[in-house]
């Protein structure tokens, strides 16, 4: 049996009507993400990565084309709480402590074992001991980790992550990359991940979607074919470098189109 399609986009386009005229944020995007995949979107700033993720999440509506999530419309999927979303900024509620921020989705969805879920997910992002702190008492990277714990708290099968590690230093980023991979491998979640970093994309993904701006579109989709369990040393292997090279070439091609 083949894995079911979690996300299916057919000729999805999105045009923002702005005061300065239309902005073609997405143009004829075709993409299928199957269950258990780890798909990364990579591309220069403004190429529509966030917009595509938001269309999947029903935070934005496509102006053209068809898209389904779990076989239903993105809206129905959102109403069924099908995904956890990690925003580009932490978006924590400043009047809630760390643990109460993680508790927010649990309160809203009325889930049981809140205490256990909070503890496990804060441990996962290495924030045990910071439960009672308020967001302003944490560094930017710690805040972003809280927001990841919050997205994981209700155990969604689909994770949509918008540059979750963009603000972190290299060491912490490596560490969290590995933990995210372990989590993905262990739980079989489907992950859609936005990044600016080629090594991060190659290390994490089963497939890399290379995007290009004006109009925002997909210019290449690269299968990595690495085993599901990976270590950081893998980044020195020729296979890894070959994939990274192909991604870089794709990004360059997208850029030259612009000039």
């Amino acid at each position: 049996m083949t894995a079911a399609a979690v996300i299916e986009a057919r000729d999805v386009s999105l045009t923002f009507q702005t005061a300065d005229g239309p902005v073609y944020a997405l143009s004829k995007v075709n993409l299928t993400v199957t269950e258990g995949e780890f798909v990364s979107f990579i591309g220069p700033s403004g190429c529509g990565k966030t917009t595509l993720l938001r269309v999947i999440a029903d935070l934005e509506q496509a102006t053209d084309g068809r898209i389904s999530v779990n076989g239903m419309s993105p809206q129905d999927a959102r109403l069924k709480r099908a995904y956890g979303y990690v925003f580009q900024a932490p978006a924590l509620y400043p009047w809630r402590t760390v643990e109460r921020n993680v508790a927010l989705p649990l309160e809203i969805m009325g889930l049981d074992d809140a205490a256990g879920r909070i503890r496990r997910n804060l441990e996962l992002v290495n924030l045990a001991g910071f439960e009672k702190k308020f967001p302003w008492q944490l560094s930017g990277g710690m805040q972003q980790r809280v927001s990841i714990a919050r997205a994981l708290a209700f155990d969604p099968k689909l994770l949509l992550m918008d540059e979750p590690f963009g603000a972190l230093d290299e060491i912490v980023r490596d560490k969290l990359n590995q933990q995210l991979l372990e989590l993905w491998d262990r739980t079989g979640k489907t992950v859609v991940f936005v990044t600016h970093s080629i090594p991060e994309a190659v290390f994490l993904s089963t497939r890399i979607v290379v995007m290009s701006p004006r109009p925002g579109r997909i210019i290449d989709i690269i299968e990595t074919n690495f085993p599901r369990t990976r270590t950081l040393d893998m980044r020195e292997t020729p296979e890894f470098l070959a994939v990274a090279h192909r991604v870089r070439e794709g990004l360059k091609a997208g850029h030259s189109y612009e000039d």
């Binding site: 959102r78 069924k80 956890g84 580009q88 924590l92 009047w95 809203i108 308020f134 302003w136």
Partner: protein, 300 residues
């Protein structure tokens, strides 16, 4: 990548290091006041000063100690305040504590009603574009009506319906003070940034969850700012509400009686009592603000 620092409400600055400037201003006001009292009281003091000899000491004595001056000297007001607060029984008709309490009780009732009404109105406005379009002009118009003009009508109409005493005055108070609360709360309830709202969307949160877990907590700093304005206005409203009824009790009644009988010292003492009440109420709201914001994790 851009990390927007979450909007953390920080606690309002405490009045440290302000004592000196405030004292200087007070001193300047006192000096100007004492000097101004001499020419302003001249019409009533001129003959007495002349009779006493007209020396500098006479001028100062009569200008600052006249029984019914045009403008009383500060120490006369303080004496009157002292006598009316501490030298009579609190429930006596001459006691400013008694009158202060009468006004305070209608102020507090009006303030509570006005704040609740203001908050409820803001919640309604934020949740319905129809209401925000249809109600807002009425709300603004309501504040352009001169309260002194409609206060007598309100009191008379309510009186004929059998409502007398506290309630009509509180209603005028409420009418005046709901406005800043509504304006402040509309701003506060719409203050969450789009990402915080999107987060709620991803959870498919109900409107009441969005209200109580996001919009309302976000609006608390705005709420307290408006409450400080509202509580002072509520006091004004209560005093205004006492004027047209010929009420016998309350700061407003004292002002009115003072002006009937030319008792300027009494008027000023009542005015000061009103100011102290207002300052005390605003201070209390400030204390509540500090406590609440601290609980909500504001930066110290």
């Amino acid at each position: 990548m851009k990390t927007e620092a979450a909007a953390v409400p920080s606690l309002p600055a405490r009045g440290e290091g302000q004592a000196f400037p405030v004292a200087v201003i007070c001193l300047v006001i006192l000096v100007v006041w004492y000097i101004a009292a001499i020419p302003m009281n001249w019409v009533v003091t001129e003959s007495k000063i002349a009779a006493a000899g007209g020396g500098a000491a006479d001028i100062l004595y009569y200008s600052w100690n006249e029984q019914r001056p045009v403008i009383p000297a500060p120490h006369q007001i303080m004496m009157e305040l002292w006598n009316a607060v501490f030298m009579v029984k609190p429930w006596a008709v001459k006691s400013l504590l008694y009158h202060g309490w009468v006004t305070l009780s209608s102020t507090l009732l009006g303030f509570v009603l006005g704040s609740l009404f203001g908050i409820a109105l803001a919640i309604a406005i934020v949740h319905s574009t129809f209401l925000s379009k249809s109600l807002m002009p009425w709300i603004v118009a309501s504040q352009t009506i001169p309260i002194l003009a409609i206060a007598p009508m309100v009191i008379v109409v309510l009186g004929s319906l059998g409502f007398t005493g506290l309630l009509p005055k509180s209603l005028i108070s409420m009418y005046l003070c709901f406005f800043p609360v509504t304006i402040g709360m509309v701003k506060g309830l719409t203050s969450p940034d789009p990402m915080q709202l999107d987060l709620m969307r991803t959870y498919n949160a109900s409107a009441s969850d969005v209200l109580w877990k996001l919009r309302f907590p976000s609006s608390v700093p705005f709420l307290f700012t408006s409450l400080k304005v509202a509580v002072a206005i509520a006091l004004t409203g209560a005093i205004v509400g006492e004027l047209p009824t010929g009420a016998v009790a309350g700061i407003g009644a004292r002002l009115l009686q003072g002006s009937y009988y030319g008792q300027t010292v009494q008027i000023w003492a009542a005015l000061f009592m009103g100011s102290f009440l207002a300052a005390g109420l605003v201070w209390l709201v400030g204390v509540a603000e500090r406590i609440v914001l601290k609980r909500m994790g504001a930066r110290p």
